[in-house]
Every structure is written in C-alpha cells, then in structure tokens.
Symmetry: C2
Subunit: 398 residues, 2 copies
C-alpha cells in the first residue's frame, strides 16, 4: 500500500516551524510496517492545496493530511477537500454539539468562528479528536483515501495512534496486532549493533519481526517492530527474540521502552535505600539536571556541585550521602574542531570504597560534554547493577 | 519567483531523521525575500525522483534539491537529473582532481567509489563545495533551474549562503546586498512584540525592510531582513530602524545577532572583574550549564551548587566570589499538566547587598524550568546593566 503524507501551513512551508509532525507520523507508520513513499508540504494556499490533493490522489492509496483544520480563514483543509471531492461542506451537528459541550464544561461560550470546524465535506467520515476542537475526517479523492488530522502535535499524535493507523491497517488488509519493543543502549554505534544483531529477525517463527535502529547521540535505540495474529501469539513470538537482543547487547542496554538511563539509576538508588551527591566540572550541571528533576528524586538526590576541585569520597562525606558520583574532564587545548576531545574521569564512592574509570572522547565540545554526562550516569548504573564500569565503548579512543 | 525545495533520501522520507535541512533552507530564503511555495520529500527511488523533478520543473522557476549526492549506489541525484535532462553523465575532471587533492592533503588515497561524485549531467554548471567531496551542480529541467546541494548539513549550509542564494537572487533579477539584523528578547510574547513594533518597517526610506519573528522559548527573536543597493546604502537605511527597535523593545533585549544571554552576562562580569557562584534547586544545573562551559568562563564562574537550602549571600561568602546568583523554585503539587507552575525566587548578592525578584510561571514542568533558568540569567544581566530586575514579563501570572 502506497502511503503519502501531506503537510499544510505557512509556518511549516516557510521553515519557521521545523516539521516534526512529518517525522513523527512517518516513524509511527514504519513501526507498524507501513512505508511512506512521498511527502508534500504546501502553504495555506487554495490552489496549491487543491493541486497537491489531486496529485496525491492520483499516486497513492492513502494520504495523511496534517494541518489546516483550525477555526481561522487561513485554515483551508475542509474547504479544499470538499472542492476536490466535488461536494458541498455540510454542518456536522454531532461535532458542533461536542465542541459546544466542551466549552460549556470549562464554563466558556464557544466563539462563533469555531463553527467552521464542524463543517465537513458532504459524506465525509468523521475521525474523533478526543482532546481538541478540530475533528479529523476521511474522504476519497482520486484513488486514495485521505485522512485529515490537526496540526497541534498532541492532538495529531493521539489521533494517529487511536484512529488513523487502525484505519490504514484495515485499508491495507493488514490484520492482527503490532508491538514495538525498544532497547536503549550506550556505548555501541549503529554499525556494530547491526553486526551484533545479525540474523535476529530470522529467529522469529515467521517474517513478521523487523529490526531497526535510531541513533540519538549518545544513545542508540534498537527497535523490534512485530506483528502477530493476537496479543498472545505476538508475545510468544517476541519473547525469545527480545531475550536474544538483550543477551547480545549485554551490559550496553541502559533502559528499555519508556525507561531512561537516569530513571533506571534513580530506581536502583531508591530500591537500595541510597542517597546521591553529584560533582561535575565541564558537564556543568548536565548530570544533575538529568536526575534531580525526576519525580521521586527529592528523597535521593541531595546535592550537586559544579567545581574543578571536587572528589567523590570528599563529596560523599561532606554531603552525608551513601553514594557520590563525580565526573571530571581534562579538555583539549585550542579552538573547537571535529577532533576536539577530552579525558573523562568518572569516580563513584560508596560505603565500600571508590571505583574510577578513565576514557578519552572526541567529537567537539558539545559532543564530548553530552558523552561525558552519559558515561557518568552509565558508570553509576553499572556499579549499582554489579557490572564492570570499564567496558570499552565505541566512542572512546585509546 | 516561485522557489521549491525537494529533499531526497530514505532517512528523511521515513522520518528517521527530522528534516531540519528543509526548515533551514526555507528560513534562509525568506530572510533574503524569497518565499518557498512547495516542498517535496522522496526517497532514494529512481521513479519517484524522476517524477518529482518533472513535476517541480513544470511548476517552479527554481528548485533547490537537497541530498542524494553521496558516493554510494543509493545516491541517485546526478543520475536521475541527467535522465530528466535527456543527457549522459560526464566526468568532471576538475572535481575529480579537487577530490584527489583533498584526500592527498590528508595523506589518504581516495576510495574508487568517490569517482561517482564527479559524474555530472552533461552541460551542468558546477557549484563548489569547499568542505566536502559532494559537489553541487545546476541544470534546467522543464522551466525551472535546479540547484543540487548535499545532504550533510554543514556542507549544505555553507553552499546555500555562498553559492545557491546568490544564484537565486540573480535568477530572480534581485540586485543589491542583504543583511539580517537579529534581536533576542526575553519577557515579551510574539503578539506583544508585534504590537510594540507596529509601523517599524515603514520607517525605512523604502519598502525593503521586512520585520519577522521566531519564537524559541523562552526567547523571542525579532528579525529585520533588509536589502539595499550597496553595503553603505543598506547600513544607512538600517541604522535608524535598528535604533527604534532597540528603543521600543527596551530592557527586554537580552542580546543581538550572534550573542547569547549567557554570553552577554559573562562579558559584563569579565568587564567588571567579577567572579560568580550559582545556586539552583529545581533548575538542577541548567543555569550553570549555560554559563560555565563558555570560552573564557573559567576565570569567572567559580562554583555551582544544586541544593534546596542555598541563599545568595551565604553562597557568595562561602565561594569567595564577588557575585552570587541563586534561583529557587516552589513547585506546584500534583501531576504534570499544562497549567502546572512554580513560584520562582531569584536572589543576586554582591558587595553592595542583595536584590530579589519573585514571579509565578506556568506551562508544565519543563517549560517552567527553562523559563526559570532564563529569568535568573536575565535578572543578573539587568542587575549588571543597572536596569530594574522586576519589570513584569508576559509569561508571568500575578
């Protein structure tokens, strides 16, 4: 099935807003096995929109349209969709009532121009928006089914998951259930992860597990997109593959699914009844700012210090905490350049003594700082989990 | 002149990489008065590329193509451009030599597959890439001039400024020189800035100054895009308009052009021979991490402390610094929600005593944290500049 994405709006077309809605939609579709084949961006312009609808309708089987559903005169999606379908706009009494009730619940009167948001092309299928006044809708233009979504990211994301993707899967005759399993690792690059996981999709009893990667330095996300006839069949199929990924990536997996490295560290500290102080130099608070604001951190994170003369054992003693993490950096001299680097020293002190890890990272000032913060947190995770803190990582030079 | 942007590559099409090249190009063009009217994204697929070239060639006057100039088999831009032009690919001896020399200078031998990057459509105009192996080129397809640029952001950005934009201006018959003047402010929203600056472009002696805004919370960027017959004429025209923007935005302007708020604060501290300690609670190092890593900060930034029991005068005394900045936050209770907020207390201590500023910010945890860090730095800037620290800002609730 050929799927396209069509984004509308002057803010996106002019580059004033970076089009993260596009990448979100495309990634979500890929995760359920639907590949996007064409992307179009046009502004709040009637002629461009109409031409874009007609061209996509001639090429694709399904088109996700994003934006242009607002209450103002420059929001043209419903109007131009009706023109492309050759039908009039008609009032959806159902949606008008939903909007009116929503305003009433908040003790407000609906502005008159919101009524425009309940005008849909005659015969359109309404797509529910549970958290906004812009309803989605679906119509057929040319040979493609067009699914219209609002530009507000929070609303679009929820409607994509709950309304749009199920419709696309049905349209493509794709049955069953899907799940995306994610592993977050630190210390291995995408090409080494690809080697380490060679043959992994083949372990599934059928071809319906897809392996993918997404690098967000300093972490790499390894994704298993799986499909099965039922939740039970899916879980049974995924379990051995998940276990094998976990085994092969080993100690480098810092978190899974919705977890974060700092969240895992906080949980470990909490579970052990520990408290933490953090000392940093050139990371300048980047480590503290990942862990201290987490919900539940107030009982664990006691103090952060940004200074050049801090050591882990002294910090632990002065702060009265069970654990101290210190990340020191010796920066290269001279101006910023791609091979600019630093020597990182991580110290962890607890009641049993002190462990230390030294590594050299390169890649420019910001890169090195982000890498050092991650390395500090990862060393603490490894220490708390009883793993070696000095396992060589791909980003380090020796 | 109708300009389009055409981005190629599976990484962009699939959403794996967010398309920041598109927004960069579109913004840069807007700054010199060229509006993008259509954006297309296709993958590394011969048929899609060819169709996209032909459609854009029928619609536009100029098309910037981004991506697909690499050395691997999935990089198809030159090949498909030649097909669309109905000409063969021919070797650019000039570019081959440039690449060979570039490798030789780094003591390396050029891999054989790089030769592909010197194969251009017969008759193409070469567009120099001073920092990479992918040269750009220009050809005419349909009624449009196509300008090809590499997908590597650093290379694309430099070529856009130095090569592509001058060609587009020439193509559109747009003469003279352009300049973009930028003001960074904190504390006023886009709609209020728009009101404050009403009539500003009209102050120019002709119509060739355009006013624009770009919000990057917590700051707002106010941009004057100006065009003149010569550098001297441009400067003479811009000076009074700049001065008027500065006057109307007043104390809210925290920095101009390439400056940053933290950079301005650091310069002020250095100029006064001052030293600084920073204390934070819920911003958890976000303030320190903006100022401490700056070049030249090591002589000024002495210490950062992340704790709940810090006060400015005590921190100043304990750290032996001339100045101390403390930002404390009293967070709302309960779960994350859009009206989640905090009461921010900023304290600044120096040899003359202590000043304090209190404000309530709302907008969710992250939003409040970013706002509080900015407010702390801005209060310090105002204090060092002799401005009132408690001027009301648009983001605060009373």
């Amino acid at each position: 099935m050929k799927v396209e994405i069509l984004c509308t709006g002057d803010e996106i077309l002019s580059g004033k807003t970076t089009n993260t809605n596009y990448s979100h939609i495309a990634r979500k579709l890929a995760e359920v096995g639907l590949d996007v084949v064409w992307g179009t961006t046009v502004g709040d312009d009637r002629a461009s929109l109409l031409a874009a609808f007609r061209q996509a309708g001639a090429r694709a089987d399904a088109v996700i349209v994003n934006g242009g559903l607002g209450p103002t005169v420059d929001d043209l999606s419903q109007d131009v969709a009706a023109e492309a379908c050759g039908v009039p706009l008609v009032l959806s009494e159902h949606w008008l009532q939903r909007m009116t009730e929503s305003y009433a619940r908040r003790g407000r009167v609906m502005p008159a121009n919101n009524k425009k948001q309940a005008m849909l092309p005659d015969g359109a299928e309404l797509i529910d928006n549970p958290i906004g006044t812009a309803c989605g809708f679906a119509v057929t233009i040319g040979k493609a089914r067009f699914l219209f979504t609002p530009g507000v990211p929070r609303e679009m994301r929820r409607m994509l998951d709950e309304q749009v993707i199920p419709r696309l899967l049905k349209l493509g005759g794709i049955t069953g259930v899907t799940r995306l399993k994610r592993f977050h690792s630190f210390g291995i690059g995408e090409s080494r992860a690809d080697e380490l996981l060679a043959g992994i999709p083949g372990l599934a009893i059928d071809a319906e597990i897809k392996l993918g990667f997404q690098a967000h330095f300093p972490e790499l996300e390894t994704k298993l997109a799986a499909r099965g006839a039922s939740e039970a069949a899916l879980a049974a199929k995924l379990a051995p593959v998940e276990a094998e990924v976990r085994r092969r990536l080993g100690n480098f997996v810092v978190a899974e699914d919705e977890q974060s490295l700092e969240g895992v560290v906080l949980e470990k500290l909490k579970a052990g009844g520990h408290t933490l102080a953090v000392g940093e130099t050139f990371t300048s608070g980047a480590i503290a700012s990942r862990i201290a604001p987490l919900a539940g951190a107030e009982g664990v994170f006691r103090k952060g210090v940004i200074a050049s003369d801090v050591t882990a054992e002294a910090l632990r003693r002065d702060s009265g905490t069970s654990h101290a993490l210190v990340v020191l950096m010796q920066l290269d001299e001279g101006p910023e350049r791609p091979d600019f680097g630093a020597t990182i020293t991580v110290q962890i002190a607890d009641a049993t003594g002190e462990v230390e890890r030294t590594a050299r990272l390169v890649g420019g000032r910001d890169w090195v700082r982000i890498g050092a913060a991650e390395m500090g947190l990862d060393c603490l995770r490894r220490h708390l989990c009883g793993m070696p803190v000095d396992e060589r990582i791909d980003f380090e030079r020796r």
